[in-house]
Symmetry: C2
Subunit: 372 residues, 2 copies
């Protein structure tokens, strides 16, 4: 099982810098994965993502199963050949989306039964099916199917039974594995319960995966509690395997995760906020639709090196949103993704320099500011 190799190259407290070698490329960690649910980061071409410094993209196996179907992707050579992003891909199984988005989802030991949100037909997603689907899509990294219960949930018995079921599904997923060239990550569940998170991590470590993810976080628990939950699980995980905090978050969440020794992150926040005209900047958040920017010729963030800030002023960007030109969301997406990717570059350098704590303080201070 050597679908990946991971080397930690520097440490600063619990924070760590590393190199993650995957089938289609090398990823410098800690890394942020732009979200390309349907096989594209909305509005961006692969060449845009290369220019921004993206290294690894996240797609959703369930959504790609619905459209265009894994056969079409596989026929084009898998995600890398089909999409034109020839670097590494990670696919989430889509279990979270199935249970949260699908109509009348019903979870039992066999898997998740649901009505397709696309055509209403009945579907059954099983741990084995999720692995087979991801094998067909051909990402560098696949995720096991899990039963995701929000950490903010207040049903302790329900959390424990979902955690135990997720472990049984992880084991079934591992047994169903088809490709030696595709890494498979286990997912720690257990809600906001430290003991359950610890037990899940121990059991996943015994099963043995190429990497491990924290699931169900960022869904209602306090940020302080989250740090404890992540740390508690990681104490039981193999120290040299990559760790992935799923679905989080804002810049302050990322640096908090990096401080705990998390290696991989994804979140829809930078891209979704961009489409709504909300920009992350070195001076705090900026709502580009605000009328005060109508005649502002400054770049969205004077400290930013992205293509948007190098070329366009705030007034022009605001105008694009006002007239509904798709170039507006695209330029904002380029900017926000570059902000996130640049933040991770700075985190990696700071870890090597032993100055990560001061970078974290700086990021936390900026989150309390607004340009408008």
């Amino acid at each position: 099982m050597s679908a990946l190799a991971f080397d930690v190259t520097a440490r600063d407290g619990a924070a760590r810098r590393g190199l993650l070698r995957l089938r289609n490329g090398v990823v410098e960690t800690p890394a942020f994965m732009p979200v390309a649910t349907y096989g594209a980061v909305r509005g961006l071409a692969p060449s845009d993502l290369v220019a921004l410094g993206a290294q690894l993209l996240l797609a959703n196996a369930f959504h790609l199963h619905e459209r265009p179907g894994e056969a079409a992707v596989a026929a084009a050579g898998g995600l890398a050949g089909w999409s034109g992003w020839r670097g590494p891909w990670l696919t989430d199984s889509g279990g979270y989306q199935v249970t949260s988005l699908a109509d009348r989802a019903k979870v039992d030991e066999e898997g998740v039964a649901f009505a397709s949100p696309l055509d209403g037909r009945r579907r059954l997603l099983t741990p084995e099916g999720a692995v087979a689907l991801q094998a067909a899509l051909g990402a560098d990294v696949a995720m096991v199917l899990d039963e995701c219960i929000p950490a903010g949930s207040s049903e302790p018995g329900r959390i424990e039974s979902a955690m135990e079921r997720s472990l049984r599904w992880a084991e079934r997923g591992k047994r169903a594995r088809q490709r030696a060239d595709q890494a498979l990550f286990g997912i720690v569940q257990g809600g906001a319960d430290l003991a359950l998170r610890r037990r899940a991590a121990e059991r996943l470590a015994e099963l043995g995966f190429d990497g491990y993810a924290h699931g169900g976080l960022g869904l209602g628990e306090a940020a302080g509690a989250r740090a404890e939950l992540v740390a508690e699980a990681q104490a039981a995980l193999p120290p040299n395997a990559p760790r992935y905090l799923m679905g989080l978050g804002r810049p302050e969440d990322l640096v908090a995760g990096v401080a705990l020794g998390v290696d991989l992150f994804d979140c829809v926040v930078p891209t979704r906020h961009a489409r709504h005209g909300l920009l992350f900047t070195s001076q705090g958040s900026l709502a580009i639709r605000n009328a005060r920017f109508a005649s502002d010729g400054d770049p969205p963030d004077p400290a930013c090196d992205c293509p948007t800030c190098r070329t366009h002023g705030r007034g022009y960007l605001r105008h694009l949103f006002q007239v509904g030109d798709a170039l507006g969301p695209r330029l904002a997406t380029l900017h926000n993704l570059r902000f996130y990717l640049s933040l991770m570059e700075r985190a990696r350098r700071a870890i090597t320099a032993g100055s990560f704590a001061s970078l974290r303080s700086e990021v936390e201070a900026a989150t309390r500011q607004r340009v408008a």
Copy 2:
């Protein structure tokens, strides 16, 4: 009055190749201008347009007056500084849009009174105001305000009076001219009446403009009649001034215009069709949403050198349209614009080689084909 210089460098029959020197750059003619109504070609960044080989963009002064207002554009250094497209710009006055789109437009000798489609407030666009507006926007080339009557119109008296009024407005526009560094083009009207077109061209030539446009064509007249109308007017225009056929058209319309000695073209067809998933290819038109392309890995047009065709297959492009990703319209727009710009490059080379007639035959044959 030397806001432009125009040199004809090769001829093939009536078709001609030239160099049009404007304040912000040199344009090789015959040239196609991508339409950037609100100061952007929808979804495309200036860097995209440079890569495609665009030379000159068309914006609409009336729409920019509504949003963001000419003051905001002027404060950012005019269209070139504001938009990031630092090459040449041409602005249409917007008279056509005002009369066709605005609510309750009323045309009299003074100008066009109308209710703003944006906020309902009363506006008055005069020949002098149109020139002042375009001076503030700062394009390389401005157009006089005209009263545009479709060539397919069946009211002969109405056509003649609009043509005569357009001539009086052209004279007023010329007198109101403010900037020596901005070219001003007159517009030939006269519906589908050869004698009126000839008279309009003679009178505009007497007034003297930097260039001349054919207006009101492509609006219902037969293509054969259109060629006669263009030729009749051009016989009366100064032979060494650039000629612009406004708002036309499909590839076969462009080569027909080039054959008559037209130098400049614009049309929304390539960009609008692209947003609807209709692609121009060397093998005919291609409707990318068609289900038969779902697993087709071929580029949209194997003979095309655009970024879309170099990177993506038809199946992926179709998928982007299916899931509503803005990248789909963008990739299709890149392709269609490259098709048009490449067609004009081929026309220029063919004129130099004396083989323009065979290029035209080839284009006309391709328009009768469909890939799907």
